[in-house]
Symmetry: C2
Subunit: 349 residues, 2 copies
C-alpha cells in the first residue's frame, strides 16, 4: 500500500471487493494472495512485522458465538485490525455466513483510519490461500486427490486454492449435512469431478491432501479417525477456531509434523490445544523460510493447524486496496472528524 497522507478513509464494500475480483479474475486474485502470503512469510522480520494473538468476547446468549479482533502491524507503515464474528448457526438460522468480518487499516504516521475493507469474502480466500502455501511445501508434488470434510463456505476456497498449486483431478467430499454437500459442485469455480460420499472415512481414504472445515460442536471432535488416512497425507485443519473445538484425533497430531500459523492462538483454539508447545513443528513462516528442508516431509504425515493469522488479513486487505486504486474502485469518505484547527473539536457545531 502506498503511503497515504490525507485523513480520508478509503472504503471497499462487498460489491467493491466482488468487482475487483471479477475484473482481475478469480484465479489471478487467488494466485496473488497465495504469492503475497508466501512472500510475507519468507521475508517476515519479527522486529518490524508484529501480530498480537487475537482477543475476543465469547458468549452463549443470544446464541453461541464470538466477536474477535485480530491486530497486526507493519512497523513504520500500517496497523491492521480485523474484527470478526463467528456464529456457527448463522447459515442455518439466519441465512448469513458463519464468519463475518471487516478490516480497518490505520496509518502509523497519524493514527488515522485510512481504509475500511470488507473481509468476509477475503477471510475465506486468505484461509484457502494459507492452506495452499503450506500444502505447496508439504504435500506430494503429484497430489491429485483432495478430500474435503465439511462442505461449507471454507471448503470452496480450500478446493480452489489447493487446485492452484497441485494437479487435483478428483475431489472426494463429505458433509454431515448431505444437503450442504449436494450443492458443493455448483459453488466451486472448478471443472474437477466431485465424488460425494457418505462418511468422513470415505472422503479421506484416497486423498493426498485433506482439508477439514466443519462446524463440529465444542467437545464433539474428532471428526476423522487416524487409521482412515493414507500414510503420507497432508491435512489442512481449518475448523478448529474455538477453545474446545477440534477436528483431528490427538494420536494423529502426535504422529505428524504440525505446522501452526500462530503459536499462541493455535495452543488456545486450534488443533494444537491438544498438544504442548514442544510438540509443535515450524510455524507457517518458518516452514516457508525453510521450504527445501521441509519438502522432505512430502511423503510423511503433516498437518497445518490453521486458526487464521492476523498478518494474512492485513496482506489481503492491502492487495484489495492496491487493485482498488489501480482500477478506481471504491470511494473515499471523511469518516473521521477533522477540524481545520486540531484543537477545536466543536469547530463544525
Amino acid at each position: 500500500m502506498a503511503h497515504i497522507t490525507t485523513n480520508t478513509t478509503a472504503v471497499l464494500t462487498a460489491s467493491d471487493i466482488s468487482e475487483i475480483i471479477r475484473t482481475v479474475g478469480l484465479n489471478h486474485f487467488m494466485d496473488d494472495v497465495i504469492a503475497r502470503i508466501r512472500g510475507a512469510a519468507l521475508e517476515l522480520d519479527p522486529e518490524t512485522t508484529l501480530t498480537i494473538e487475537r482477543g475476543g468476547f465469547q458468549y452463549e446468549k443470544p446464541t453461541l458465538g464470538l466477536v474477535e479482533w485480530m491486530p497486526s502491524m507493519e512497523l513504520g507503515r500500517a496497523v491492521g485490525i480485523k474484527t470478526v464474528g463467528y456464529h456457527p448457526s448463522n447459515p442455518t438460522q439466519r441465512h448469513l455466513p458463519s464468519v463475518m468480518a471487516t478490516t480497518s487499516i490505520h496509518d502509523t504516521s497519524t493514527g488515522g483510519l485510512v481504509a475500511l475493507v470488507e473481509a468476509t469474502l477475503l477471510t475465506a480466500i486468505r484461509t484457502g490461500a494459507a492452506s495452499a502455501v503450506v500444502s505447496d511445501v508439504l504435500a506430494a508434488s503429484d497430489s491429485s486427490v483432495l478430500g474435503l470434510v465439511g462442505c461449507g463456505a471454507q471448503a470452496v476456497t480450500q478446493a480452489h486454492a489447493i487446485s492452484r498449486i497441485r494437479p487435483i483431478t478428483r475431489i472426494v467430499a463429505f458433509d454431515a449435512d448431505p444437503s450442504i454437500a449436494a450443492t458443493l459442485a455448483e459453488r466451486l469455480p472448478l471443472a474437477i469431478p466431485i465424488d460425494l460420499v457418505e462418511t468422513a472415512a470415505d472422503a479421506i481414504a484416497d486423498a493426498d491432501i485433506v482439508s477439514t472445515a466443519t462446524t463440529v460442536e465444542i467437545g464433539a471432535g474428532p471428526v476423522v479417525q487416524f487409521g482412515d488416512f493414507r500414510p503420507g497425507v497432508h491435512i489442512n485443519a481449518v475448523g478448529a477456531d474455538f477453545p474446545g473445538k477440534t477436528e483431528l484425533p490427538v494420536e494423529l497430531l502426535r504422529a505428524a509434523l504440525v505446522v501452526p500459523d500462530e503459536v499462541a492462538q493455535c495452543l488456545k483454539e486450534g488443533e494444537s490445544q491438544q498438544l504442548s508447545e514442544d510438540e509443535l513443528g515450524p510455524t507457517l513462516a518458518e516452514l516457508v523460510q525453510n521450504a527445501e528442508t521441509f519438502a522432505e516431509w512430502r511423503s510423511e504425515l503433516t498437518v497445518f493447524d490453521s486458526t487464521g493469522w492476523a498478518l494474512e488479513d492485513l496482506i489481503i486487505a492491502e492487495i484489495a486496496l492496491d487493485y482498488a486504486r489501480e482500477l478506481t474502485i471504491g470511494y473515499h469518505t471523511q469518516l473521521q472528524h477533522a477540524p481545520t484547527d486540531p484543537y477545536s473539536p466543536y469547530e463544525s457545531l
Copy 2:
C-alpha cells in the same frame, strides 16, 4: 440501540455526527452523554456489561504514537470496539487531532458489523462527560472556578461538560504553548470569562475543580505541584494515557481519594501507574453507585484518573445512533459480503 436484524452497516461520518449535535443542540447532547454514562455506571452489572483492558501497538517510527483497540460488550446485544490512534505531534506537525478514533458495533446475534461511527469528536465529548460524572459526585456543590492545565482539544470538552454540572463563573487556564492558550476562548462554547495565566501554579491556585490535559512527554511529569492546589480541590487527570506519561505528583495522589475509570488500564497507563492497586479508591462505577457516601469527600482532595473507559465509547456511539435513526441522518451500506447462499462465498463473482 434497537435490535437490528438486517446485515447492512449504518455509517455515521464526521459530518453526520456534527449534524446530529447541531440539530440536538450541543448542551443537550452533552447532558445526554453525562446522564447516560452516569446511568450505565449506576446499573453496571459486571455479569452482563464487560470491558476488556485496551490493547495496542506503541511505536516510535515513523513518529511516537500508538494505535489501540477498546472492546466492550453488552451481553446479548452488542460488542463495541473503538480503534483509536494517539499521536501527540499530530496537531503541530500534521494539523490533525492527536486522538483519532472510530467505533464499530457488532450485533451479538449474528456477529455482523451493524454500525460504524466516527469517534474522534465523540471521544473528546465522552471524556468531558466522564469528568462531569465524577466531578458531580466529588466537587463542592458551589464550585465556581475551573482551572485548566493544558488548553488543547480535551480542555474544550472538559470546560463544557463541567460547566453543565457546576456553576462555573471563571476559568483560569494555562498551556505550556501560549499560542494554544490564546485561542481557547474562541474554541469554547461558553460565555464564561477566561483568565490566561503564565504558570500551571497560577491556573490551579484558586480552582475548585481542575482538569489536566496536557501532552507532557513520557517521564517529564508532573506538570503541577501538590502545594499549589487548594485543599478540597477535585482534579480530573485526563492526560495520562501512556506508560510513563503522568501529570500529577505521587505525593498528591497518595493524599487523595483516587477514582480510576478502569483499574487495570489506570495501573498501566494512568496516574495510578504511580500507585499500587490497594491505594486506589472506588472506580467510576462504584463511585456513582455510592454517590451519597462519597459526597462526604466534596471538601477533601480527590482525583479522577481518566484513561478512557471502553463502555463510554459504546454508550456515546449508541446515543449518536439513536439520534441518527430519529433524525434520519447517516446511511446504510452493504459493507459486509452477504451471498444469498451463505455457503457460497464466490456467488457474486
